[in-house]
Amino acid sequence: MKKLINSVDAVVTDTLRGIAAAHPSLRVDVENKVIYRADAPHQGKVGLVSGGGSGHEPLHGGFVGYGMLDAACPGEVFTSPVPDQMIEASKGVDGGAGVLHIVKNYTGDVLNFEMAAELCADEGIEVASVLVNDDVAVQDSLYTAGRRGTGATLFVEKIAGALAETGAPLAEVARVAKEVNERSRSFGVALTAGTVPAAGRPTFELPDTEIELGIGIHGEPGRTRTSHREAREIARLALDAIDDDVALSGDTLVLLNGMGGTPLMELYIVYAEVAAYLEEKGARAVRSLVGNYVTSLDMQGFSVSVCRLTDELTRLWDAPVETPGLRWGR
């Protein structure tokens, strides 16, 4: 394992120190591991809090700022944060209008956020939660943990954040967040596995001739392994999985997301195929992002997320945002 770190134990703290140094628009509580908008709380505005394991940067800390999150709680690498962080964050951003917890659907995240929400209620903070579960690679059923939350988290954070900025009440912000999640689907492909610092070697081994389909963002292996092939065909495999789940049509917002170790050049090459596929289906990517947004350490690969837009969602997507990871209109 070769990484730019000081020590395996300090990766999260050192990352937070770097974020603090790089972004004067953020206030970073390194000890309690919470990243705030420097100007939080905002009186009368719903506070948005998210969090999850580290290793997915810029998610979530890079999305704290005007028009998106008010605070983010980074856990250890690939490990959900603890309730203390979420409680601290919720207190710090509550401007009297309540707090929305944006939770990716992983057992750990769900349990820890649930505990935090209960304790927040005890302290008189109104909390609503939205669960993001966009990953079509996972079979959903009443008896399983359900689908993972992946790339669509960015859509939810951006769009709910834009609505919160207008002064909308908690129930409304939670409603739009849920709608974005329901209208979004994702699928991921890995060329290589990432290496968790504490583990010291890649989570799984992939020969040079194979790829993993249906991977998540925690280095877990995918559902199936198949032969490596042209970008065009790989993009098609990913989009077929999405299209099988919910037919692609109309105006869409597309995130072509790098897993951390894949160069932008390759992401653009895949994006060209994604755009062509959508057109074939009679859908259109009217908004798009291509780059590293919801990563998995140094994993090579990509995920594609598609949100079927409504006029409201498009308008909220276009609204100004000013965060380290996403910025326009200001």
Partner: protein, 209 residues
Amino acid sequence: MDTSFFLAWINAIATAVQAERDHLTQLDAAIGDADHGANLDRGFAAVRQALTDAPPQTPGAVLTAAGSALIRKVGGASGPLYGTAFRQMGRSLGDAAEITPEALAAGLEAALAGIQKLGGAAEGDKTLVDALAPAVRALGRAVQDGTKLTDALAATEAAAQEGARATVPLEARKGRASYLGPRSVGHEDPGAASTVLIFAALREAAGQA
């Protein structure tokens, strides 16, 4: 079993988790996200610290403090689950200074109930419940039969061990391993493996007492 017995138990768990850290992480790498060993090691180090900083005065207080430290420091799925288990067990022991085998068995039943209420896993879902549930049953039976404590705890550990081993052929329905679907088959559940360590530590603590 007095306060120092429970302190010894927790200590033995911490030592075992540290020794087996890499093994647990490797199990988690196969069907999870390669952090179970690191999670528990971080958690039980924090537990040790908490018990040193403010030494609890009753068995119940030891377990409640341990559970709280796990919830505060682990994160992930195992933090709230094991944390809740220890807290529920602590609550079940109340403020008794000396714990009977019957109370121990009841406490572990409460732990299991807490985990199942929180995580919603049934036996056969390929989680730590698959090791915990048979262990709790084995202890209950042994205590009812009036078995000597060390023998009862040896049977409990064996049941946990067997339950853990039996997770290998299962397809996961809860936790991260469930994302793998059929590919989760053929691997031991890391949480079940760490549950075995907890019962081995319990047997050890009883052997030394």
